[in-house]
């Protein structure tokens, strides 16, 4: 038999009889899934039982939340769909935080859960939870599958929905009897065809013309760049657009990396903890071009006072986001890449020299108050540690941050040059994200120098995943920005609750000793000079390294938009003299 005819006869083998569990893995294999992050249990065991026969690597997490964050980090680093798996009941409910994280940040995930047998549904059986009901508001879509022959159509549709349009998590809950039952498997027949789902929008020509009129006629324009640019792989087009029009670029937290940090048109992060000059530029603009961002309350400040003099163009793939928070003049609904391709031929070059010079003037005022200009006074500040980590990794690390003060300092002081080099949770903000997401990121990009930057509070929420890291032999370096307290909450107490520090001080374990219990090398850093040396040691070490960086406890993230205030009314860092 020739190869051709063998392949032809291979095709004729379909449909063939398989168990539901085999169909799950057959579908994952055909969706080119290389890694599944999960935790086994009774109701998903039929799938686990047949998994070794397929070319899929299972990563055993220590908690299902960790498994979903790993899949999320895997998706964000590699650009594919992340897959997480868990059993029914507690396995499924433990996934909830991870799923909500992916939903808020538009991360493409397929979460597969086992469910009790269909005959037991509704009987409050052991480990039965209505997980499709629980996850209804935090998934893009979900499925309860009770028959083996429904598995392939549901899974194919789940992958299609997760990755198309505005990406998001999709959960497929499969009963144990559906996994154990048999049916004929026909991949072609299971082609996804959800009749009401239309993810591909294109802007209308009239809207494109109107947008071009605004762009070409503006004197003080600013581009607001968000996660959609990364998800839409439009980084090069954004760069071309900004350079041709000479429009400065501000970004949301999740937009960081989509535009080179050292580019002359890069302003940096806007929003609650954005640099003051960036927010001032946004507030003074006469045109905002929002690309793949959703005017989250963290970036607008008080809505009524947001960019009062600016016309607004919103380029967004999700029609429901346009005019949701901020009324706009033109909504261009579509993939950022398609929209920019439509806009680019029509933009006229413009040097905007006066406007750029004006923004530079705003910058000078803020630079004087930057902590990076402060003299070394013997204290180790987190902002200095992260700045030095940036230099020591030559700005080339893939950084995964947790949630809190360190996350903002990272966004301010680690300058990212390339896309998908910062992975962080912007929407939901779950502490405990960094360590598992970093594991997923490293598995997606084995050549990347992956650093998890995490607070001492958030680290302890998912530090059990150190076990996963060791078991999988994943080389992720961890920098704990250890200030001995829940810093961001403490900061809120300091500014808005009369400095009553209730329930924010932490009694921590010795993280270096803890690391050694896992066979991980731990290094304690207590002075500024130690940061670069520790990073160098981490780079030279084969396995994972954990840095316990003991930083000033009472420091706060500056600048900060005052509660309920406009974007340009910021609380500024006191000058260095005042801190002494």
């Amino acid at each position: 038999m020739t190869r051709t005819s063998a392949r032809a006869s291979g095709r004729r083998l379909e449909p063939r009889m398989l168990t539901g569990a085999q169909i799950v893995l057959e579908c994952l294999t055909r969706e080119r899934v290389s890694h599944v992050f999960g935790y086994p249990g009774g109701a998903i065991l039929p799938v686990y039982d047949v998994m070794p026969a397929y070319p899929i690597h299972h990563v055993l997490a220590r908690h299902e939340q960790g498994a979903v964050h790993m899949a999320d980090g895997f998706a964000r680093a590699g650009g594919g769909v992340g897959v997480a798996m868990a059993t029914s009941g507690p396995g499924a409910t433990n996934m909830v935080t991870g799923i909500a994280t992916a939903m808020m940040d538009s991360s493409p995930l397929v979460c597969i859960t086992g469910q009790v047998s269909s005959s037991l549904i509704g009987s409050d059986a052991f480990q039965e939870t209505d997980i499709t009901g629980v996850t209804l508001p935090i998934t893009k879509h979900n499925y309860l599958v009770t028959e083996a022959d429904e598995i392939a159509p549901a899974l194919r549709e789940a992958f299609y929905i997760a990755r198309s349009g505005r990406p998001g998590p999709v959960l497929v809950d499969i009963t144990k009897d559906a996994q154990q039952g048999s049916c004929s498997f026909d991949w072609e027949a299971a082609e996804p065809k959800p009749p009401g789902y239309r993810p591909d929008h294109r802007p209308r020509a009239a809207e494109v013309r109107h947008a071009l009129d605004l762009i070409n006629g503006s004197a003080r324009p600013v581009i607001l760049l968000g996660h959609g640019v990364i998800l839409g792989e439009a980084e090069n087009l954004v760069k071309a657009f900004a350079e041709r029009t000479t429009i400065p670029v501000a970004m949301t937290l999740l937009g960081i990396g989509a535009f080179p940090g050292s580019h002359p048109l890069n302003l940096g992060m806007m929003g609650l903890h954005g640099e003051a000059w960036v927010n001032e530029a946004v507030q003074q603009a006469d045109l905002l071009i929002a690309l793949g961002m959703r005017f989250d309350d963290r970036v607008t400040g008080k809505l009524a006072e947001f960019a009062p003099g600016a016309r607004k163009i919103h380029v967004e793939i999700d029609p429901a986001e346009v005019n949701k928070n901020v009324p706009v003049d033109v909504g261009l609904i579509g993939d950022v890449r398609d929209v920019l391709e439509a806009l680019l031929p029509g933009v006229t070059p413009n040097d905007h020299a006066a406007w750029l010079a004006h923004i530079d003037g705003l910058r000078g005022h803020a630079t004087a108050r930057s902590i990076q200009g402060f003299d070394d006074d013997g204290h180790l500040y987190a902002a200095h540690a992260i700045h030095d980590l940036w230099q020591a990794t030559r700005g080339r690390a893939l950084v995964v941050t947790d949630v809190g003060q360190h996350q903002m300092w990272e966004a301010q002081y680690y300058r990212h040059e390339s896309t998908r080099s910062l992975i962080t949770s912007g929407g939901l903000g779950p502490m405990g994200f960094a360590v598992p997401a970093a594991i997923g990121a490293k598995l997606a990009r084995p050549d990347a120098d992956v650093w998890a930057i995490v607070g001492d509070g958030g680290f302890q929420m998912t530090m059990a995943e150190l076990g996963t890291m060791v078991q999988e032999g994943v080389k992720v370096n961890i920098a704990i920005i250890n200030n001995g307290c829940l810093g961001m909450v403490r900061q809120l107490q300091e500014f808005f609750y009369g400095a009553r520090y209730h329930a924010t001080p932490l009694v921590n374990p010795d993280f270096v000793t803890l690391a050694s219990a896992y066979g991980i090398r731990g290094i304690r850093v207590t002075e500024r000079a130690g940061v670069a040396a520790a990073v160098a040691a981490a780079a030279a070490h084969d396995g994972p390294v954990l840095l316990d960086i003991r930083v000033e406890s009472g420091d706060a993230v500056y600048p900060m938009v005052a509660a309920g205030a406009g974007l340009d009314q910021m609380i500024r860092r006191p000058a260095q003299e005042a801190t002494r």
Binding site: P195, R204, D213, V328
Partner: protein, 192 residues
């Protein structure tokens, strides 16, 4: 103020829950919701009355379109449409009052659908106003029980139920748009 939507959805388990959950999640108040089959197999039709203004109505429509099982959303609030509510009202009726009640029922073009020694059951269809009014005039006789379906709506003219199309055709079909004012001359403004 209220907005009325006609929503076509796939006839699958849990779809009503998805729609209702959306309104709860986005803090929109459902004033009435009716569901039923259509003439097309696999397609159900909802009439939803929501307490929201035009701006809110646009958000509702856009969010409904994000539900995978939603096929089409028509905001019929200000389009020519027929609105109907159906009510059944059980009212006390003695030998003396019975004929009075029957006269009132005639005036409202309602029908008596059940007669018992001490009561009558009245069936009435019409706008909510008309039914409210009939309830008001029957109340002095003693309303024992009343049930209303909530508003159903249908746009006038030739628009029809969407078919459940295969994906390939659906992808070629017209794209759902952000809800907006009818096209006016000049630049497109998305805000009211």
């Amino acid at each position: 103020m209220s907005s009325t939507f006609v929503v076509y959805v796939e006839d699958k388990p849990g779809v009503l829950n998805r729609v209702a959950s959306l309104f709860r999640r986005r803090a929109f108040n459902i004033e009435s919701l009716t569901v039923g089959h259509t003439d097309t197999p696999g397609v159900s039709r909802m009439t939803i009355v929501v307490g929201t203004d035009r701006d809110g109505a646009r958000k509702v429509e856009a969010h409904l379109y994000k539900l995978v099982n939603v096929l089409r959303v028509d905001d019929v609030t200000s389009t020519p449409a027929v609105f109907r509510d159906l009510a059944m009202i059980k009212v006390q009726a003695s030998a003396e009052t019975r004929s009075h009640i029957m006269q009132l029922v005639d005036v409202y073009r309602a029908r008596i659908v059940d007669v018992a020694p001490d009561s009558l059951m009245v069936e009435v269809t019409g706008t909510e106003d008309k039914i409210d009014s009939l309830l008001d005039v029957l109340r002095p006789y003693g309303v024992l029980e009343a049930v209303r379906t909530g508003r159903v709506a249908m746009a006038r003219g030739a628009a029809r139920t969407p078919r459940v199309r295969p994906a390939s055709a659906a992808l070629r079909g017209p794209m759902p748009r952000i809800p907006r004012e009818p096209a006016a001359s000049g630049p497109v403004q998305l805000t009211a």
